[in-house]
Each structure stands twice: as C-alpha cells, then as structure tokens.
C-alpha cells in the first residue's frame, strides 16, 4: 500500500465514528498497537519534550525502508503516534520526507498537530522527516 492508500484506509476507519468519545476510544485502542521503542533507547536524545506530554522516537533505515518505534506517557498522544507511524513505516525515506500527514485533519485531529498544542507531536513529525532526510542521503 502507498502512503496515500494507507491514509485513505484510516480515513475510512474513522468515518464510522460520529461521536467524539467513540473516536477517542478507538485512538486509545490504536495506541496499544504502537511499535514501542525499546526501553534502553529511551535516552534524552530520543526524547521530544512537549510542555505536557513526552514522546520518545527512534528511527532506523533498513533496505531503503524507514522503521520507526516510539512511546509517550499520554495514551491519546500514543494513539496518534500509532497512526502517524502506521502511515510511514516501511516506506522509503524519500516518501516519508515529503509526507504531509493530511489525513490527521481529515479525521478531525488537526488540533493535536497545531503548534499551540504542547504535546510534542509537532516536533515528532519534524523529527520523523529529518530522520528520513538523513537516511535518504
């Protein structure tokens, strides 16, 4: 599946939820499938400090495919990270670097990626792209 196809798949999954709480229950469920960063990799250089919730991110590149693992202390943040990683994992660094994660606003979660929201997610998206750019070189 391409990034676009994966994004569309998520948009379709979320289409069935018209209640906010149901939507968030689903996000929390998704957080449980997040490819977790190994405990020993939770070092300061992999920590993205938000004002409120913290995010750890590790990026590796194998056979021209990006592999992200991550974690957060807040479970809603964790669910959203799971969505972001699901879209870009196993994709080429070049594709990840130009990914815009537009599906986030299509499923109504754009507030989590707004710069005023201090949850570390904006910085995380930036880190993911920077890592992809580095791997693309």
């Amino acid at each position: 599946m391409t990034i676009q196809e994966k994004e569309q798949e998520i948009i379709d999954e979320f289409a069935i939820y018209d209640d906010w709480m149901d939507k968030y229950e689903y996000i929390i469920e998704l957080g449980k499938d997040l490819p977790l960063i190994k405990e020993q990799l939770k070092t300061d250089d992999r920590l993205i400090k938000g004002c409120q919730s913290q995010v750890w991110l590790n990026a590796e590149c194998e056979n021209n495919k990006m592999k992200f693992t991550a974690d957060s202390d807040a479970i809603i943040t964790k669910g959203i990270i799971a969505l972001l990683i699901r879209v870009v994992n196993d994709e080429s660094p070049a594709d990840v670097a130009k990914s815009e994660f537009k599906f986030i606003s299509e499923i109504g979660l754009q507030e989590h990626l707004s710069p005023t929201r201090s949850n570390g997610l904006v910085s995380m998206v930036k880190e993911m792209k920077l890592n992809a750019l580095k791997a693309a070189k």
């Binding site: 906010w20 409120q52 807040a74 479970i75 809603i76 201090s118």
Partner: protein
C-alpha cells in the same frame, strides 16, 4: 446573590463546545468578560477613539477623561491613597518586570530578594535576571506538603540585607491564600519593601492596599473580568518617585532636548508610549462590575463550590489533591492515579469542559510534589454546582476509557 442573573451578563457562557454547553473551569488562566466590558470597548472604538493626554480636540479630551476615570475607579476599589499610584501596565508580568528593572536599579551587590517556592514563573524569572545583573542574592521561602508557606523559615531568611520580598497573594496552581499581612509586617520590621503578586486575588477576595500596607501590588485585568493586555502596578507614591523610569518614550517626559530629558510626574513617568486606552477603559468597567457584587457573597459562593467539588472528587478512586491549605480559594489541582493530565484534559474538552492541565507556569511547585503537572479546575463567580455535577459525570465517563 442571583447566580443566574450574573451568568446572563456573560454571553460566552451560552456557547456550545463540540456540541455540548460550555463548562468553563479555567478561570485561573483568564476569566470571561461581562457584556458591560465588551460593550464599553466596542463603544470606545465606535464613538470615542482618539489618542489621549495631548489633543485639544473633543474626542481626545473625552478619551483622556474616560481613561483617567478608569484609573480613579481602580484607585477607589483597591484603596490606594492617590490615583497616580495606579500605574497602567500590560499585566502582572509587566508590572513585576517594571519593579525588577526600576526598583531593581537601586539595589547593590550582596542585597537580597526573597520569593517563595510557590511563585508563578513571572515572579521568579525577573528576580533571577535582576540578581544576575546586580549581583544580588535570591532566597526562597519553602512550602510544606499541604502547599502552605513556612513562615518560621521566612523569618530566619529576613535580615538587614533583605531589600525586597516578592510573594504571591494566592497561588495559581494550588489556591493557597498566603498570610501576606504577616509577611508585610515582618518584612517592614527589617526595612525590606514588599511586592504582592495579586494576579489571582482581586476576583476572589477583597483587597485593600493601604490596609495591607504593601509597597507594590500587581495584577492583570483579564483575570478579573477585564480585557487582556492591561494590568496595574500599584506602588506607594514616595517609592515610585524615587525609582528611575523603566522605559523611555512619549508621555513619560516633561521636556526633551537632544542631550537631556526631564521626566514626567507620576503616573506618566512609568507609562511610556501610547497606552492601551481601550484596555484601560474596559478595565475600569470590569471594576464597576466587581463593584456591583457583594464580595462577601462572592467568597461564600466560591467556597461552597470548592467544598462541593472537593467532596465529589474525593469519591473518585485514586484521586490525589495538590494544595490542601487551610485557607484556599476556589482552585482544585488534582491527579487521578494512572491517568495522564493531557489525556484527561483532551477528553474533558470533547465534553465541553475547559480545565487546565500541565504545570501552570509553576514548575518548582510541580518539582516539589515530584509530578509533571496537574489537572486544575478553577472557579469564578458565574460557576454553579450543576456545572460541577457535569464535570464529575464527565470524569466518571472518561476514567474507564483511559484506564482500559
């Protein structure tokens, strides 16, 4: 006191958030504005706008009168001796920075400033910067586990080296009401001046600066039903007269030549540049709104809300309160075991409930309790028990989702 009648003066309380009626419990961050304040600002820009203090034309003179009347209203309300002791600022932070820079200019290496462990960052950082600039020493009044200041330790910190004591009247993250009368008396006994951070006070309790005998009192307009971007520094006349100006520019001068400037009298000496005229006038109207309330009733209503909400929250499994001072205002800071404040705040928002989560700009307080932050519900005069019920029900719905 008819709360519904008060609520009807705040149009925003009719708003719906995510389809649910707004329950606004973030009053510690900013309060909502009554229609009188909104209308006053609109009328100013619609019919009265002109620059003040200079023009000979009618609009300018009327705008000047309105702005200066606002100063008088505030002077009367907080009990200042003179209207020129009311300096308009951008807000609490601006007022503290003014004192740190201007009064601070008079300090010498080795002089000491005392603050407390429960201060907002705005009442910490300007003093740290001053200490770095002037070689002064910052000393800290510790706080006990209930969130009360340890005044015996404070007395030991005081000495003839103490030049200024800067403490908050009411803690924004814990709700503690500090015994500022004692702090002021003890400080004056060693010749130190006292600045009180009143950002969380005037909307909740009656404040009389002459009765307190504080040397400086600072507050923000937007936390007491007024506009943002306007606040007040109250200072004793003699002290303000001795202090050098903070910022240079228009309005603060008497005469300017290219080599020498003489400064204007109080309060203009500290009000460089065209001020926030609409803000000042709007703040005057916010004080008229406060004047329309009986402060004893306000205290009684908010204490009732505090007790009602605290009792209801106590029944929630795994709840931990932060700030259990004997004397506190309507602020409840708490955590629920196993739940991240960010998650709780996000889901409460989806149910129309506005609370604050995080460290509330008091990181040292959070460090002392060894937590990254709390969930804070802070009430104002227009909040009701019914809203507290909605809040509790929402928490009961959220907890199983987040614990799942």
């Amino acid at each position: 006191m008819d709360i519904q009648k008060i609520r009807s003066q705040f149009p925003i309380l009719e708003e719906k958030i995510h389809g649910k009626p707004l329950v606004y419990f973030d009053n510690g961050a900013t309060t909502q504005k009554p229609l009188s304040v909104i209308n006053r600002i609109e009328n100013y820009y619609t019919k009265e706008n002109a620059n003040i203090h200079r023009g000979v034309h009618t609009l300018s003179q009327e705008a000047t009168t309105a702005y200066e009347n606002a100063r008088n209203t505030i002077q009367t309300y907080i009990g200042a001796q003179h209207n020129h002791e009311i300096i308009f600022t951008k807000g609490t932070t601006d007022g503290i920075n003014l004192v740190a820079n201007s009064f601070g200019e008079l300090l010498k290496p080795g002089d000491e400033i005392i603050i407390s462990a429960m201060e907002h960052h705005s009442n910490i950082v300007p003093w740290q910067m001053l200490c770095e600039r002037k070689g002064c020493k910052l000393r800290i009044i510790p706080m006990n586990a209930k969130g009360e200041l340890e005044l015996e330790v404070f007395e030991r910190l005081l000495s003839e080296r103490t030049k200024l004591v800067a403490v908050t009247h009411i803690s924004n993250s814990l709700g503690t009401v500090n015994d500022v009368e004692q702090i002021i008396k003890k400080s004056h006994a060693v010749g130190a001046k006292v600045l009180i951070d009143g950002a969380q006070s005037i909307q909740h309790i009656k404040v009389d600066v002459q009765a307190l005998d504080c040397d400086f009192y600072v507050f923000s307009g937007h936390k007491l039903f007024g506009p943002t971007g306007i606040g007040v520094l109250y200072g004793k006349e003699a002290l303000l007269n001795n202090m050098p100006p903070y910022q240079g520019g228009g309005d603060m001068i008497k005469e300017v030549t290219l080599t020498k400037t003489t400064y204007n009298d109080l309060p203009h000496k500290f009000e460089a540049g065209t001020p926030n005229i609409a803000g000042g006038i709007g703040l005057g109207t916010a004080f008229e709104f406060l004047n329309s309330l009986n402060m004893d009733d306000v205290v009684a209503h908010e204490q009732e809300l505090l007790n009602y909400a605290t009792q209801a929250l106590t029944k929630i499994e795994g709840i931990q309160f932060y700030g259990e001072a004997a004397n506190k205002t309507s602020v409840i800071s708490f955590l629920i075991e196993g739940l991240h404040p960010y998650d709780v705040g996000t889901l409460l928002d989806k149910m129309g409930i506005a609370v604050r989560t995080g460290h509330h700009c008091t990181q040292p307080v959070m460090d002392q309790f060894k937590i990254p932050g709390t969930i804070r519900a802070s009430f104002a005069i227009y909040n009701t028990k019914e809203e507290v019920d909605i809040f509790i029900k929402a928490l009961e719905r959220i907890i199983p989702i987040l614990k799942n």
